[in-house]
Each structure stands twice: as structure tokens, then as C-alpha cells.
Symmetry: C2
Subunit: 303 residues, 2 copies
Amino acid sequence: MTTRYLLGLDVGGSSIKYQLAMITDDDRPVVVKQDTLATPASDPVAAFADIARDIAGDDLAGVVIAIPGLVDSDTGTVLRSVNLPHLDGVHLGARLGDILEVPVDIVNDGRAAAIAEARWGAGDGHSDVFTLALGTGIAGCHVVNGSVAAGAHGIAGELGHIVVEPDGELCACGQRGCLETVIGAPALRRGWHAAGGEGSPRDLLIAYENGDARALPIVDRAGRSLGDALLTLLALVDPGCVVIGGGLASAPHRLVQLAVAHVDKKKTFHTVPPIVAAELGRWAGAVGCVGIAVDRMARTVTA
Amino acid sequence: MTTRYLLGLDVGGSSIKYQLAMITDDDRPVVVKQDTLATPASDPVAAFADIARDIAGDDLAGVVIAIPGLVDSDTGTVLRSVNLPHLDGVHLGARLGDILEVPVDIVNDGRAAAIAEARWGAGDGHSDVFTLALGTGIAGCHVVNGSVAAGAHGIAGELGHIVVEPDGELCACGQRGCLETVIGAPALRRGWHAAGGEGSPRDLLIAYENGDARALPIVDRAGRSLGDALLTLLALVDPGCVVIGGGLASAPHRLVQLAVAHVDKKKTFHTVPPIVAAELGRWAGAVGCVGIAVDRMARTVTA
């Protein structure tokens, strides 16, 4: 029997992270290649086909592509991607599948990363995991039994847009006092600069670690707000594990530690699950793609 | 073939509501009896057995009992019931099953009612329904594909205990500003009496309808708070339908109407699903029991 491969491509605005997995005789995937490429600037369908053939040769069994933006996974269509506008409206799954003659699935990159963290990263061992990525925005994703519980209209998990400060600052979404208006990277940067600080939210967190009095109220407020949002999450969703990643959660973990301390202080009837740091880092998206490809192969073989 | 029957008992502190369904040749249940009995004061296992035999005779195929309190449905045990303290710790399912020689399942009454409303009541036609019962407490229940999504520790859906007024009134749960501290029946009663009103929260809602200026700020605040909680629900859970029932939602529907108006005014990225009144009223629990009994029979036959 020929060795067969599954390819996961996590496509960003400037670079693609990929993982290639070999399918062994017992159907277990083993990652054999992992690398970063430049994102093609134009003609993405032909370019992705070339990339897939270059990486995997002729023995490809399936491809999963993670896209930063809104996708329709049922039809394999990219609906809207701010960072990859030349893909908007492209039936990427079907067109690439026709060229490569293998199944090609299209998924949202955040969901691919969430599935990866929940199943093979920090959530491993839990069947009900809520993942949270802290960055410019706050992306939440509820992964139950390895699949995303996306809600009836695909928008479940928007922890960044629950209100933590009624009549607070205006959010990009139009509401006031969303969690993002307190702990989103732009909000932290604004608060830090207004207090006389310089640099990024990361610099703010480092200043906090160093006892900078200007950083104190900003980071304390952020920790409390994240904690309040987590309490709402525990009351409404009751996950078995919360995995927190993204740029703002790494290195100085203090923001998450402050939030967890706030949860422990304010919890009443809640059951506080393990609240842990994400483990897969920047490769989570590619790992998730390979995992989804393995699932798809298993379903196809069974069906 | 003998005609067989399934019995659903919704047990309250003072009365039991029951439905008896006949299983037809094509396995469709048809309700043939529905009535109310007094709850036995002692020796509940023997009393429930007598009740079941009296209602169904010897052709019983299964029983489901809904209990107001904490139950372990896996083992059929009543863990704690404030209104039925003589059932605390009783292995009701196994003991009654031994006597009646049919499967006996024990469920929480709120969940039975939620399943009924989601599947055969106001949520009929939606696969993802959040039910809300407004009364002394606020019971939320997320029903997905006909089953309760109870969370990792069985406490999901606690919309009554998400904070809508930070630093608000102290809640029985120990937090401050939970939704229950604003729209729970005791909170509405307290507010109404403090404003010089008399009677129950229902009287408060009637006074509001009649333009009583004392009722205005209390009910408006309650409507806004329920609306804020619903916005959080839409962001985090994204249900396909919200069904609102319970004493405070019926008759003067104004509280729910005010909440929906608030949601429509404040929503941004949210997809607002149908928010509708519960339909099954006080029989929802018994209907849910019969439905769960039908499910159990289908599983047993298939297995």
C-alpha cells in the first residue's frame, strides 16, 4: 500500500504555516514536515495547488486550509477575509479539490486552533473545553467532544462582546463596555499611553511586573474584567476546562493569573474548572487542520 | 400484541401531575390520561408504585419521574429536594424499577419541562433552544437536539446568576447584582412594597399595565436587566430560539416584551432568534417525562 499524506495549511496575511502528516498502517497520523511559506499574492487557487504538490507530491489523501475570516465550511467557500481579500467569495474547497483530486476542507483559523488546543493541546483529556485567544480581539470557542459548538447562527463563544462595564467605553461592535473595551490590545495600549507609558500592551504587562504604578490600575482592572467574564462563562456554559492563549496571555501570564484570582474570590455556586495556558502556540492552526483532515478521512472510510 | 403504556409523573411538593401515553403499533405515543393527584406524605417508593399500578394497570412499559431538586439521572437517585425532603438520598429509580419490573428514570423537573417546551412546545422546529422559567428563581436550560446541554458539571444555563448590575444587591448565591436580584419574584416584591405597592409581583405587573407611576421604574429596570442578560446569552450561546415561561412571564407579558425591545435596541453583531412565550404551561414537566420515556424505549429497542 502506498504511503498517503494529509496536509494542513494555516494561511495568514503574509505567511502560511503547514504541517504534513503521514498516515500509518493503523491510520495514525505522524507529522513528517512542518514549515512556513510566504502567502501567494495572487491566483490563490493555482498557487495553493502548487504548494500542496510541492509539499506532498502525488500521494496526497486530503487537505484542510485554515483561513482568517468568515468561511462556509459546508460549501468550502471563503465568505470574507480582511487579510486575504483576493479570496473573498472564492469556492476554494471545490476548485482546489478539482485540481488535486482529493477532498479539500476550508475552516476558520481560530476554530482550527481551538480544536487543536482542546484535543491535542492544553485541553487534552477534557471533552468540554472553552478556548480563549486574547489579542486585538478576544476570540472564544466552545469545543465539545472535539467539535466546535458554534451556536444556531455560528456566532457562539463571543466572550469578548459580553458587557462587563455597563455604560462603559464604546466598542467597535457598537455596544458599550464589552470585555474587548477593557482587555483588547488596543484598549490596553490606549490606557497605557494615556497613563504616560510607552510601547505595546506587552510593555504594559512587563511594567506591571516591575511594579510601575502607572500600570497597576490598568492591569488590575483588566484582570478583574476578564475574571467577571469568566464567571459569566462558568454560569452559562459550565465548561470542563478553559484554555487561554493569544499574544496577551503568553510571556507575562499575570493578566490570566489576576483573572483566575478574581474568579476564585468571587465564585459562589460556580464550579471553577482548570483554567490553563494554551500549549500549541502559533502552530495550533496547522495542527487543527491536520486533525480535521484525519477526522474527515475517518468519516469517509466509515461512510 | 398487548397495548403498552408509558407513565410520566411530575412530582411537586403538594401535588403530582401525570400523563399516561399509550404506545401504538407504529411506536407513536398517544396521551390517554392526564390528571393531578396529591403527593404522598410518606413511604414514597411504595406510594409511587401504587400510583403507577392504579393509573396504568399491568401493561406498563416504563416510568419517568420528574423531581423538584438535584437528582443523579445516571443512578436514578434523588440527591436533594427542598420540597420533598423524604426523598433525599433515595435510590428511587432502582427501587421503584424493582417493584414495577420496568425501567424507571429520574429527572430534574425543570429539565423535563425544558425538554418538553423545546421539542413539543414553543421551541418545536428548532434544534437549539434555550428555555427560561421566570419565578422565584430563574431557571435556564439549553436544549440541543432534544437533550439538555448541562455543561461539564451539570450547572450550565444559570442565566439567573450572571451579573447584570456590578456592585448591585446581594444575591442568595453570594454574588452581587445577579439577574435574580433584579427580576426574581422576591426582588420584584421587595421593590414594589418599598415603593408603596401591595400584593405580588403579578400585581406589580398589572399596576404597570395600568400606568401606575410607582411600578414604572421597577418594571422598566427589570425589562432592561432581562434584556441585558439575553444579549449575553446570544453572544455566548447563540441559541436558535429562546422560550420564556414561568409565573412571571405569563398573563402580563410586558416584562418579556420590555426585554425583547431592549435587546432589539442594543443588539449589534448578535443574531436575535425568535424569543417566544412557553406553550405547555403547568403540564410541561409531565409532557417532558413521557417524551423521555419514549426516548428511553426507542434506545432500548435499538440496542
